[in-house]
């Protein structure tokens, strides 16, 4: 911060658009403020989770630390099973989304066939439909094929993702046609062209899309709640419900412990791969 008021020659020379002087101070302060606001609820959750319930709303630095809240949260519901279910669920969805999305996007971006534009517009139209409007119809469909209360039932409505197809199509469109042609001249089949030319070049898009998809489905609540009935198929979010029984009062310490516990894999994943995520978001142009 102190360096901000003085001109920093090395940095300014390399990037003429970088903010300097007052602008830099303002921007940094703003960024730090936003980061603080963002991290506060999380910091509170950590505080509440690691201290006994008496200290939930009292900030005494010498308060004893405890893991008791985590033990109690873990014992309150079959969380091991819920973790497994959620893991299977997000993997299943992402795997199908990538396979279907890649094939569809390739066809829409590079193949010429009758009705291609109509198909693309139809897919785009789905982006405009509120997912909650389809709940009853989706439920009816799954009931007819006898899939209610299974993990595939949670996954099925999501595996052909319009968003994913759109995103990949746009990325494939930016791949120079010359690379495609060169591969063909070498005798590659359309599938080989896709796997050897397009997919490697779209890697940042896959990473960014994967993150969005995994975090969305990790946190999804309403649809899994409606379509599942038993412990064997319910994901974490539905399991967390056990702490929301307002009739009996709310125990913040246990809720915070459970929340940290269930979001830990996502948080750790994000911290580990933070750089890759940010870069792929920038390259893929998702905002």
């Amino acid at each position: 911060m102190s360096a901000a008021t003085q001109p920093a020659p090395a940095a300014t020379r390399t990037d003429p658009y970088a903010p300097k002087g007052l602008a830099l101070t303002l921007e940094s302060t703003g960024a730090i403020l936003l980061a603080l606001i963002w991290v506060l609820p999380l910091a509170y959750a950590v505080w509440a989770a690691f201290h006994p319930a008496e200290y939930t709303t009292r900030f005494v630095l010498t308060a004893p630390l405890t893991l008791d809240n985590f033990t109690r949260a873990w014992a309150a519901a079959p969380f091991a099973r819920y973790f497994l279910n959620t893991f299977i669920l997000v993997t299943l969805i992402l795997a199908f989304q990538i396979v279907l999305g890649t094939l569809a996007a390739y066809a829409l971006a590079r193949q010429d066939f009758w009705g291609r534009d109509v198909a693309f517009v139809l897919i785009l139209a789905q982006l405009m439909i509120m997912p909650d409007a389809l709940i009853v119809e989706n439920y009816r469909t799954l009931a007819k094929v006898n899939l209610i209360d299974t993990i595939p039932a949670i996954a099925l409505p999501y595996i052909a993702s319009a968003f994913g197809i759109f995103l990949l199509r746009q990325t494939f469109k930016t791949v120079p046609k010359e690379l495609d042609d060169a591969a063909r001249v070498e005798g590659a089949s359309p599938l080989q062209v896709l796997m050897k030319v397009y997919v490697p070049l779209a890697k940042p898009t896959y990473v960014a899309y994967g993150l969005v998809s995994v975090s969305y489905h990790w946190n999804n609540f309403l649809w899994p709640l409606l379509v599942t009935n038993s412990v064997e198929s319910r994901p974490l979010t539905v399991g967390l419900q056990v702490f929301s029984s307002a009739d009996q009062g709310i125990d913040w310490a246990v809720i915070c412990a459970a929340t940290l516990m269930t979001s830990a894999p996502l948080l750790v994943g994000f911290l580990l791969f933070q750089r890759q995520f940010v870069q792929s978001f920038m390259r893929a142009g998702i905002k």
């Binding site: 389809l134 094929v145 209610i148 409505p157 993702s161 969005v212 056990v242 029984s245 009739d247 009062g249």
Partner: protein
């Protein structure tokens, strides 16, 4: 984000022939049963045990409890399943959802199953206070089960500190205010360290407010569920009393008081008296580290409190055999002995007077006399506010109450606005 109805085409083809398969097994009648509690809660173990006990006595019926979360989530799940053609045969949903369920044609009345004299005796064995919310148009649509009412909890230690008789709760509105004034403590800077009283106002303020309005002699809605009386002078007076506790006398926290954390404030001695549900009895008993008392709510012009909680409902789309089996289970679980056991283990009110005469209940209340308060209050209890379009009509009242409590509207204006809004919604139902 993204969504797609992937199987639409396939299912449309298969549609006509496919059976609503999930709830069917060979030979035995399988009963799906939605229960508004999350998996892992202590109540699930009780319900599982009841289901096992019932199956043992009735081997031809398989009962499958499905734990669906909160009441709100359970009704969303039940109505979705109903609209898709595969609803649960039996469900426990809020008693106030009765009109909604009737309007959706989701439930059948119990009257068709009442055949013998014994059945009739059973139907009339419930507390009348609970039946008010279960009957309309001369038919019984719900059977009370997980029911509760609002009571006052007080901290005996803090009463003693304030020079009050620790065994004597406030009996009238005036006493309640007087006690609360004595119980409110301020530090040197004038900040309150201990509040006299707390009446929660988040989420469903109308329910607690109904205690006040009943005590002021007003009834919020008619039994047909198509007309409200929010702008009644008694209602305004009740709201004025509540607002004054916070804004004029400053013995009640200002603004909105959180429902979920009120018991915790009570445990931490941040508040000396609280209004909350009898469903909290077991929780308070387990967590309060001081002697506490439970009392009927103080009287205004008269005593009064709303009832609350859940009823059994029978699905209209279930087969006759499934409905019969479900009815059998409802009768089985509401016998006096089981209702007594249920009440002792959860703190919910036992639904029939007869269950208070059972051995199990007598043993429980000898040990924990506070449990009797809910029953004693029932004669003056009224039906929880419930109308057609219940969610929207109660929301109009909730918004008005919160506006008055936060000081953005006067009680008079807030209730007039709420009444106008409710009137607009309900006009279509008369």
């Amino acid at each position: 984000m993204d969504r797609r109805e992937f199987l639409g085409g396939t299912a449309a083809l298969a549609g006509a022939t496919a059976l609503p398969g999930i709830a069917r097994a060979q030979g035995a009648t399988e009963l799906s049963f939605f229960y508004p509690v999350a998996v892992g809660g202590p109540i699930t173990k009780l319900i599982d045990a009841y289901a096992a006990g019932f199956e043992k006595e009735n081997p031809s019926i398989k009962l499958k409890p499905i734990y669906a979360g909160t009441y709100q989530e359970t009704i969303v799940k039940a109505l979705t399943a109903h609209k898709s053609g595969t609803p649960p045969v039996l469900s426990v949903l809020l008693s106030t959802d009765m009109y909604t369920l009737i309007d959706e044609e989701a439930i059948v009345p119990f009257d068709d199953f009442i055949k013998t004299d014994e059945d009739k005796k059973w139907l009339s064995s419930f507390f009348p206070g609970f039946m008010e919310n279960s009957q309309t148009g001369g038919k019984t649509w719900g059977i009370p089960f997980q029911r509760s009412t609002v009571v006052l909890y007080w901290n005996k230690e803090l009463f003693k500190e304030a020079g009050l008789d620790p065994e004597r709760p406030p009996k009238t509105w005036a006493e309640q205010l007087e006690f609360a004034q004595k119980l409110t403590k301020r530090d040197a800077a004038g900040n309150v360290t201990q509040w006299g009283i707390q009446i929660p106002s988040s989420g469903f303020p109308y329910w607690l407010f109904q205690g006040l309005s009943t005590q002021a002699g007003a009834i919020l809605a008619n039994p047909a569920g198509d007309k409200t009386d929010y702008a009644n002078p008694g209602v305004v007076e009740a709201l004025q009393y509540w607002v004054d506790l916070a804004q004029k006398h400053k013995v009640h926290p200002p603004g909105i008081v959180e429902w979920g954390t009120t018991p915790r404030d009570f445990f931490e001695r941040k508040v000396a008296m609280m209004w909350t549900t009898t469903g909290n009895l077991t929780n308070v008993r387990a967590n309060a580290k001081f002697p506490f008392g439970v009392a009927v709510l103080p009287a205004g012009k008269k005593p009064g409190s709303p009832t609350g909680g859940g009823n059994f409902y029978l699905s209209k789309k279930a087969t006759k055999a499934e409905q019969e089996a479900a009815f059998k289970f409802v009768r089985w679980i509401t016998t006096p002995e089981r209702a007594a056991q249920w009440s002792a283990e959860t703190g919910y009110v036992a639904v029939t007077p007869a269950s208070y005469e059972t051995e199990a209940m007598k043993k429980y209340v000898a040990d924990f006399p506070q449990a009797l308060v809910a029953r004693d209050q029932l004669p003056s209890a009224v039906a929880e506010l419930s109308t057609h379009e219940n969610q929207r009509v109660t929301k109009a009242l909730n918004d008005g109450l919160q506006a008055a409590l936060t000081g953005t509207k006067t009680p008079q204006k807030a209730m007039e606005d709420a009444q106008a809004e409710a009137e607009r919604i309900l006009k279509a139902y008369r």
